[in-house]
Symmetry: C3
Subunit: 308 residues, 3 copies
């Protein structure tokens, strides 16, 4: 396996690399059962988080992952810094490169920004979400979570529900699960369904249709981006819930058929899921969070700053 510097998207990964990350996450997760949840693997290495969009959860997940590998973490606070706000990303990255940090974890609303950064630095760059493009550690943690439950992802039937069009989660997770042999379907309103679909993805516009004709093993609900509400892709949140949310009636079907439930978090209660859905015994939402740390540890362990 060639050393790899960056994790920018799922498409560029080899099968061997995917397997390496997923299988090494297992011992890292085992660590969490101990009282000392820490290994000295990255002692003396520095991880810098560079979030142009706020995300407390993802940032904290990387921070805890880095701590558990004994790395030092610096949060480079782009938002509160009026100075850096006006500075171009390239100039900021030249600064970070000069600081000799080893890993840069970046989130940016513009697709492709992590790639741009990766080209300007010897540091390993990890894409923690860029625009509608990619969120590869989310995809890896989703695959890890499913593999833990299903043993083998091959042949698993997964329906992804919601705003597919604007979702980097949908894009990355769908791609990775298909590479691992899953059958993926999309359930979305017409206004939120992408035009250029992969040929091996089936689309649906109603729960009845997808439950009857696709018969999923796993239901993966996307988060409704509240901040995008102004754009009116659907009439109202109530309407969305009725048509595309996991209502209590639909939850009943999941329960009868023992389907797995996933969501990248944080959940909008009453929109994607009801209160009852949050307590569903086959919900994997919290396991996704835990696995997120293990998988991010595995990614940090795998990447080689300065490679290529």
């Amino acid at each position: 396996m060639k050393p790899r510097k960056d994790l920018l998207d799922i498409a560029s990964l080899t099968d061997e690399e995917i397997e390496f990350v997923l299988s090494n996450a297992v011992p890292f997760k085992d660590l969490f059962k101990r009282s000392v949840k820490k290994v000295p693997t990255l002692r003396g290495r520095s991880v810098l988080t560079l979030f142009y969009e706020p995300s407390t959860r993802t940032r904290s997940s990387f921070e805890v992952a880095a701590n558990r590998l004994s790395a030092d973490v610096t949060n480079f606070d782009v938002e509160s810094s009026s100075v850096v706000k006006g500075e171009s990303v390239v100039d900021t990255v030249e600064t970070l490169e000069a600081m000799r940090v080893d890993y840069i974890v970046v989130r940016h609303k513009q697709s492709g920004t992590p790639n741009l950064i990766a080209r300007s630095t010897r540091a390993s760059v990890i894409n923690a979400g860029d625009g509608w493009h990619a969120h590869p550690t989310q995809a890896l943690l989703d695959a890890f979570t499913l593999r833990e439950k299903l043993k083998d992802i091959r042949g698993a039937r997964v329906v992804i529900v919601g705003d597919i069009q604007h979702s980097r989660v949908a894009r990355s997770t769908s791609l990775l699960l298909r590479r691992l042999g899953a059958q993926v379907a999309y359930l979305a309103p017409g206004s939120l369904m992408p035009r250029d679909l992969p040929p091996d993805v089936t689309t649906f516009h109603s729960w009845d249709d997808v439950l009857t004709n696709f018969r999923p093993d796993v239901v993966y609900l996307l988060r409704v981006q509240m901040e995008r509400q102004g754009e009116q892709f659907f009439p109202s949140l109530g309407e969305y819930h009725k048509l595309f949310g996991l209502t209590d009636a639909r939850l009943q079907v999941l329960r009868e058929r023992k389907l797995w439930l996933m969501h990248p978090g944080p959940v909008n209660r009453g929109v994607e899921i009801t209160d009852a859905g949050m307590n569903y015994e086959r919900s994997l939402i919290n396991e996704q969070v835990e696995n997120g740390i293990a998988v991010r540890m595995s990614v940090l362990y795998w990447l080689r700053p300065g490679a290529e």
Copy 2:
């Protein structure tokens, strides 16, 4: 002594537990005289701070305490995260629980939130202030500070001055000092005196009265919550100072009688205390800060994540 998972309030502590925390804070404080102020006690454990109300001082105190025990600290930034803002506390805590953090230090304006959190997680929850309800580490550091000066708190006469009604500090500290055998009095304007008073607390409405008839050993001034000024519990800050502040004339009495002076900080100069009062030789305000770190180390050392 049974292992204890959480520190939620003073009322639920046994005498043995109080003694354990107070006496173990002594060697932790001794550590601060060394150049290496650190012990490996909590190496590999993670402490997460979850502050729904900003408090740089209290948060930093816990952060330094955790560092000195070699724990890793993550500040979960609730305020800046628009996403988490809309999320229920319960859902946030499920996430933290999934991240396998060992200690959650929480501040929230709603009384009872730390209890709610404690029930949803195996992590040890430490209440760092909830509404008007409790602020147990403040009470413990106050008791520790007084014990250091008076050797024994039994029989000590402490008057707490100010907005008793809305003060979690008054509630927790008063409760703990009385349990340890102190005599506690309240001095407050009628509008800021609680209705349901403990039977062993005497109330006063003027400094003259309390100094003449209660004859305190310790004067504990509460902070005036500036942000609550809109509600007009007293006509003006000047008025408050004149009637309930430690004026220079009253300071003179404290000095003559060698009374101890306490305040939870930060002080509003010119309101609770004058500039002269800030230099009073028997002020324990800075010692309260130092002892805060020692006592919080002792609390982290005492609690057992996963207990019960």
Copy 3:
């Protein structure tokens, strides 16, 4: 060499101290080439950053420097804390003193604030920029950077360009370079040239003049403080660029004469420098950033909390 508690400005340093800091920065910089960029020198010591003006770059530089010495870092968040906002600096510092932190790194818009703080605490205070007064670690990193390139600063000719009047960088760096034997000139519009100039500094008002008659080895561009634009010291940014910026034509002269280029960062592209200037092969801007960490490590290593 007497132990020194604080670094407040360049003026108070002895030659021996300057030499100590500059020469010890060399092995710290060598460390950055290793995979483990960390030494245990300050294990168990605590560094607290207290920034009353935001500066992500400088704060992060100190944070990374402290991490690489194995110290613990706490960011005392003055800005977000409404409580601390109203509190006097002196009261805040009494709190930090009581917390027994070892180093306080302070930035404040009021000149002299770090001196005030240094007098109230046993902690070592490092001035990270106060008003127009001083920014000593910037000066030290600038001197270190030049010495690395020129071997000896004696006789080097350095022109500092821009808003000299309001620049603590100009003040500190100019002073240190002259102490080390450099010839310093200022190039600035009349409105931004200080009245009381050191006798050994020559002033210029046009690039032509300075390039012809001063013949610099090093061009040091100051940052235009965008937030000070309201005050109208020059007609417009375009005007500033034309008259005092490093235009492509001037860059050509630098290139022909092999002059070094410096800037404290972050750069306003199109104002102080063009895009072409950012790629100039003798630009030391990124090296200044890297050296900033090494020099700050050296400063932390040198200072003795509690000395004097």
